[in-house]
Amino acid sequence: MTRPFILSASIGEAAFAQAHIAAPILRAAEAAGLDLMVMGRAGERPFDAQVLLAWAAPLTSRLGLVATVPASNAHPFHVARALSAVDFLSAGRTGWSVIPEGAPGGMAEDMVGAARALWDGWGSDTLILDKASGRYLDASKVRASNYEGPFFKVAGPVNAMRPPLGHPLLVVDGDAPIAVDDADIALFADGAPVPPATKRLLKIAPGADVAAIAARFEAGEIDGVHFTLTDALAQLPGIAARFAGLGSEQPAGDLRARLGLPIPATASNQPGGAVVPEFA
């Protein structure tokens, strides 16, 4: 079975918060075949990435949209709702990367635990939407989370549906690591520790040696690469030309299906995301 080669990049300039800057960058990212665009990055807080994720959703069709979430300036109830909404608007292309900076130790991990508990308060098959019987949902699939962590106590249920991905992809950045042992994706630099995660992306410069990267991918040492964009429009075409060839065709479906990332069994009480029944 072929593994997908995952192409990821982050953007952290404040100018990206403007439509005339962001729109061409998103188009270039899609054209480059990028799998993930991490908005915001460790050490910088240029914009509220959760908001930009929502804006990017209708303007993209393939790109995974990952919000950097500062644990010091967010609440899991709000974050769980925002990411649920974006995951529906993007039809299952959402991720998040919780950054501990400025927050007391353990707060970022608590944020992850609380948001996951809220998403798990809604079953995958909660929605019924049957006009004839008048049943909108199955209340037996909804439960209060009653999450109690060291920083956040969140009763729930949250007024947001379980996301289509179940849980948005959890991305851990090795430059600002958090102590979560069942993340989906780790970003790490050569020589630095690799946070535990299902998939590992090596941080490299756009000019890195493609053959060496391909060899490390074939050896199973990495699952893809991550670029820190500083001049996105100039860099993305080169990244596409040099690295897109390493990817093989991905299976159809949402971002988890495409990248081979089932929800970690340790993270959720359900294996999948919400299903919206369609009635004629």
Binding site: F47, V51, A54, R81, V142, V154, N159, A160, V276
Partner: protein, 409 residues
């Protein structure tokens, strides 16, 4: 002199004004989980030359006593996300998000709105709420809501701090096109009206009759003047729902048909939520369980006692009381008639000083919005009461407010 212009806002939370609206044949309940639905309704609102789309919000899930209702449309996706996604597929429509001052820090909400304001090119608005539902507190690690006067005092500080943060973000760049979001408020109480008078540039309110509209608008305008602001810098936008028909008779029949989609079970869930007490385990044919309600409700007991007293006195069965309660929404203007009659009514309210415009609450979505935009908007435009083109690209331009106001609170 040009005839008085009517401002239009679209209140699009949920799947329509009526609890049974989601079951209507022209409602699309699956739509509220998809981008194409939001793109469609945003395009409709722009076609109707609305100033803005507004989403209300709560910070607790629907239900009562820990029971989630099965027959009411829910849950509500995050309004900031929905509105920002709509910004990406529109050019003019304003985007007003309801955000709580009690359960956000100034830093959190200032960052959210700054991003929304920048990426939308100056189309953001903030409906400032203090959060009044007691079930919210446990979602934020608390047992009880702070008392109302304390919430409003805190709200004043949060708005002031957020305005400072926006001024700093504007200076640091990229610029905030309107300086900050347009400030919107919906308080009804004395505290709420005073807060609105000091802070708001647009105000929602329920007003069931033209006289109620005149009273509210006059009261607010004098409170605005009393704090040294110009009353013409504040838009008063009462809620308006409607069911249209080719004749008045047909509209009434259409209205009855929507109400008839609701059964007793839905009505009892709706009543349970309104009284904050789960009544779904009681016999619909039995008495209204007043003692249980007063013992279990989290809402102010005196208000709840007033609401259920008539049923207790008359011995009305629970199902019947719930159906009546749901079929007679208090305080709202629900217009039934032809599109011509609706346009007449709207113009009469505007000319009488009962409002500056209306916050339309479609009966069911998206069909109710489609009907209004296709049938009523062209009449208002023909009569010169609704613009045919947008005056600019910011929300302030659509509202006819100065392009940038000194940031205050």
């Amino acid at each position: 002199m040009m005839d008085k212009q009517i401002h239009l806002w679209a209140f699009l939370q949920g799947i329509g004004f009526f609890p049974s609206g989601w079951m209507h044949e022209r409602a699309r309940p699956a739509g509220v989980f998809s981008m194409d639905y939001y793109a469609r309704v945003a395009a409709l609102a722009e076609q109707g030359r609305f100033d803005a789309i507004v989403f209300g919000d709560q910070l607790q899930s629907r239900g009562a006593g820990g029971r989630t209702p099965e027959r009411m449309a829910m849950p509500t996706l995050d309004p900031v996300s929905l509105l920002t996604a709509m910004a990406a597929v529109t050019r003019h429509i304003g985007l007003v998000a309801t955000v709580s001052t009690t359960y956000n820090t100034p830093e959190m909400l200032a960052e959210r709105f700054a991003a929304m304001e920048r990426i939308s090119g100056g189309r953001s608005g903030w409906n400032i709420v203090t959060t009044a539902h007691p079930a919210t507190a446990p979602n934020f690690g608390e047992v009880d809501l702070p008392p109302k006067d304390e919430r409003y005092r805190h709200a004043k500080d949060v708005v002031a701090k957020a305005c400072e943060l926006w001024a700093a973000m504007d200076r640091a760049g990229p610029a905030l096109p309107q300086g900050r979001p347009v400030l919107v408020q919906a308080g009804q109480s004395g505290d709420g009206r005073d807060f609105a008078a000091r802070t708001a540039e647009a105000i929602f309110c329920p007003a069931a009759t033209i006289d109620a509209g005149i009273d509210f608008r006059s009261d607010l305008r004098s409170r605005v003047a009393a704090v040294g602001r110009n009353p013409d810098g504040v838009r008063i936008m009462p809620g308006l729902s409607c069911v249209l028909g080719g004749s008045e008779e047909e509209a009434r029949a259409n209205h009855a048909a929507i109400l008839d989609l609701a059964d007793d079970a839905l009505a009892i869930e709706y009543l349970s939520e309104s009284l904050c007490c789960d009544l779904t385990g009681f016999d619909p044919a039995g008495q209204v369980p007043v003692e249980t309600i007063l013992a279990q409700t989290l809402l102010p007991r005196a208000d709840i006692a007033r609401a259920v007293a008539p049923a207790a006195e008359k011995g009305t069965p629970l199902g019947e009381f719930a159906a009546h309660f749901m079929r007679h929404p208090r305080g709202h203007n629900v217009f039934l008639g032809t599109p011509e009659q609706m346009a007449d009514m709207m113009i009469a309210w505007r000319d009488a000083g009962a409002c500056d415009g209306f916050t339309l609450q479609p009966s069911y979505m998206p069909g109710g919005l489609e009907d209004f935009v296709e049938q009523v908007v062209p009449i208002l435009q023909r009569r010169g009461r609704l613009r045919t083109e947008y005056p600019g690209t910011t929300l302030r331009a659509s509202l006819g407010l100065p392009s940038r106001e000194t940031v205050t609170a």
